[in-house]
Structure formats: structure tokens, C-alpha cells
Symmetry: C2
């Protein structure tokens, strides 16, 4: 008997389970019963992390291991997985206990992300590494293609500083040029100087930090342009 | 031409590289040059973590995901990998910069552990997942077989408490029965009571904490016996 909810899910992930019971388990939250998706999530987290690592390794041959780790963390973090799970309508197929159901567990990012990992773990158990890899590639390639490896997960000041340090160039200097407006709505204007490149930029913001980030962003854009 | 050092290493890990350059890179510390093992280590860390996860998943069908994570952390931690690397004589095959060589980098656990992970990553690149899995299984099965999943990485008091909490049973009570001896060499005698099971044990030690741990161990052993 085909379950219409999981039929659509299997179409979307591009994989049909030999053992439908594995998929059912992957969709079972611990609030539903003792046979649930927690162990599958452990397995799925591992295989997902590794497949993403290997895809990034191949896609970005010039990135060092620190940047690769950063990109991987971005792709496998709960909000990313939760959004992906939404596009697969995993919430509709979840089996939740009554309390979780009433409190909206089917739309909670953590619950959805866990179920998605469990599904990937279940594919691995059902058919091995290559099958899990195909599912992960299908789901994550659009996200990997959109990555700007230079900027993900980092603020402009850190990006600029790390770039300069990697070239053994002195870190930029920041100077507050002006603070305008009344105490409750001040605007800061900050100058960022990268002496080595003869670059000077200005940023504005409602805090000194925000103004520095803006100035750093402009300087970084000029340098890598 | 066969390199006698890496010939022995390949025999010990049970895998012969198609592309010896991958093995060479895996054995190259960053102090040696810009083509080094850091990216391979990133890849190897991922595949190792996952293969260990899947082996533990299969070996311990009754453990929950928290215990599985704890066991995995124990198996892939630096000291464990460093010791394993010593048994493979990886230190002899490492390529290190002069500074690292003089400061004994070839016997530093972190350097050895990183190289071992890089080798596993290199096997994955050289021949795919199944080859990497065979190497990991060969190297780690003796360690997995030795695991006592109940006790790794936890002290008896924590073990006892977590066990009782998982059964919704009141935590044990500890009472100091006696402190004997002079100030610099006291002996503490502590009683541990688990009211629900009508269990009372005593432990002795040179500190209150040590005596409590001993009493907790005896109580835990009685409960799970």
C-alpha cells in the first residue's frame, strides 16, 4: 500500500525506499513512541556531514580546511536543514505525539531538521553510501552552487582582517570621524584605512560597530574586486 | 619505485594506493610546504567520524544517540588516533619542516592524529567509500570490540545518576560516615543510598569525592547486575 504523503516525499528526495519501515521510523518523533528517529538522526548527521564535506572538498579546491569547515557548518546548521525540510513537506509526514502535535512540532525547525537527517541516515541503511550520496547531492547542490565561499558566516571586519593577515599585511585602522544626532538616535561615521593598498573608506551606522562593518565591507570589496 | 617506509604503512592499513601521490600528500605536514595534508585531514575527519558512527550504530543496537555520540567521541579523539598512528609507524613516514623535525613533531600526538585522518581521507579519494570503510574497520574494530559502552568516558556518580534519572527514580543520597587519619592523609568513608532499590553501599577514598565515586560504582554495579 502506498502512503500518499511519503510517496511525494520520496519523489522529492529522488529515492524510493526498499524498506518503507525505515522511512516511517525516520519520520517518527520521540514523542510518538520508543521506536523513533533519534538513532537514525545520529547516523544521518554523520553521513550528511561527510558527504557535504566531500562535495565542498571537490567544489572548492583552493579553500583551506578552515574555510571548508565554515561552509559545511553553514550548510548543515539547523535553520538550513529546517528550511530544506519545509520544501520537502516533511512536516506533513511526521509522526508526533499528541503534545508535540498541539504545540506545532511539525513546523519546528529543530524537529524538521532532525527528521531530514534521520531520512538521510535511513537511505544509507536502506541502500548504502552511494544512494545516500545521491540524495544529499540532489538536495544540497542548489545550496552549494549559491555559496559565496568568501563571505558565508563571516562579518566584513573579520573577512578583511583575515584576508590581510593571510597576505602578511598590516591590519586596517578604524577611526571615528563624527558622531551626529541626539543620544537616542546617533549616527556614527567611521573611516577604515588599509595603508598598504592606499584604500580609505567610510561607513555609517547607528553604532560604532555597525559603521566599522560598513567601512570594512567597502574596503574589502575594493581589495578583492 | 617502492618507498620502503610507505610500503610498510600500506601493509599495516591493508590498502595499497593507486595514486601514491595522495599518500605522500597525506603524510606531508604543513611545516613542509604548501601542498600538505590539511585539506585531506578535513576530508578524513569527516569520513572517519561517519564510518565510526555507522559501525557503532550496528554494533550497539540498544544504545541511544547520546551514548553513541559519547562512544564515537572516545574513538576519534586525538589521543586514541595518536596511539593508533604510533602502531602504524606513521611518524617514520611523515614529511616535516626542519623546525617541526627538530622539535619532535613526528612523535606529537596531534601531528600523528592529523596524518592518520589525512590518510583515511586519501583512501576515500583514491578508491571511494568502501575502500575507506575497509581501512577504518580494520584499524578500529579491535578498539570497538574492547568498548564497554556503559562506562566509557563517564565517572560512576554520573553514570548512576543518569541511569536513575532515565528511569525517573530519585537520585541517590551520599553521606560521609567517617573521616579517619591525620589531616595530610585522611581516609573518607561515604555511604551511597538508592532508596527505590533498597541499595546501600560504602566507598572509601582519600577524598570525599573519591569515596563517593567508589560507593556509586558499587551501587551501579548492583543495579545493572
Amino acid at each position: 500500500m502506498t502512503n500518499p504523503t511519503t510517496f511525494g516525499l520520496q519523489r522529492l528526495i529522488g529515492y524510493n525506499f526498499h524498506h518503507q519501515a525505515l522511512l516511517t521510523q525516520a519520520l517518527t518523533h520521540r514523542s510518538f513512541g520508543s521506536v523513533n528517529n533519534e538513532r537514525l538522526e545520529f547516523l544521518g548527521d554523520g553521513v550528511l556531514n561527510f558527504i557535504i564535506a566531500s562535495q565542498l572538498y571537490l567544489a572548492f579546491p583552493k579553500l583551506d580546511e578552515g574555510d571548508l569547515s565554515r561552509l559545511r557548518a553553514h550548510l548543515v546548521k539547523e535553520p538550513t536543514l529546517g528550511e530544506l525540510a519545509l520544501t520537502l513537506n516533511i512536516g506533513d509526514a511526521l509522526r508526533l505525539g499528541e503534545g508535540e502535535l498541539k504545540s506545532g512540532g511539525w513546523r519546528r525547525p529543530s524537529v524538521l531538521a532532525d527528521a531530514l537527517e534521520a531520512i538521510i541516515g535511513a537511505v544509507f541503511l536502506d541502500a548504502g553510501f552511494d544512494a545516500a550520496e545521491m540524495v544529499v547531492i540532489k538536495l544540497f547542490t542548489p545550496l552549494i552552487d549559491k555559496i559565496d565561499p568568501k563571505s558565508i558566516g563571516k562579518d566584513p571586519k573579520s573577512l578583511l582582517q583575515e584576508y590581510l593577515q593571510s597576505k602578511k599585511i598590516d591590519v586596517p585602522s578604524y577611526e571615528v570621524l563624527a558622531i551626529e544626532g541626539e543620544a537616542h538616535c546617533q549616527t556614527f561615521r567611521v573611516e577604515c584605512k588599509v595603508a598598504k593598498f592606499n584604500i580609505t573608506t567610510q561607513g555609517e551606522g547607528t553604532s560604532r560597530r555597525a559603521a566599522e562593518q560598513e567601512a570594512a565591507k567597502l574596503a574589502y570589496q575594493q581589495i578583492i574586486a
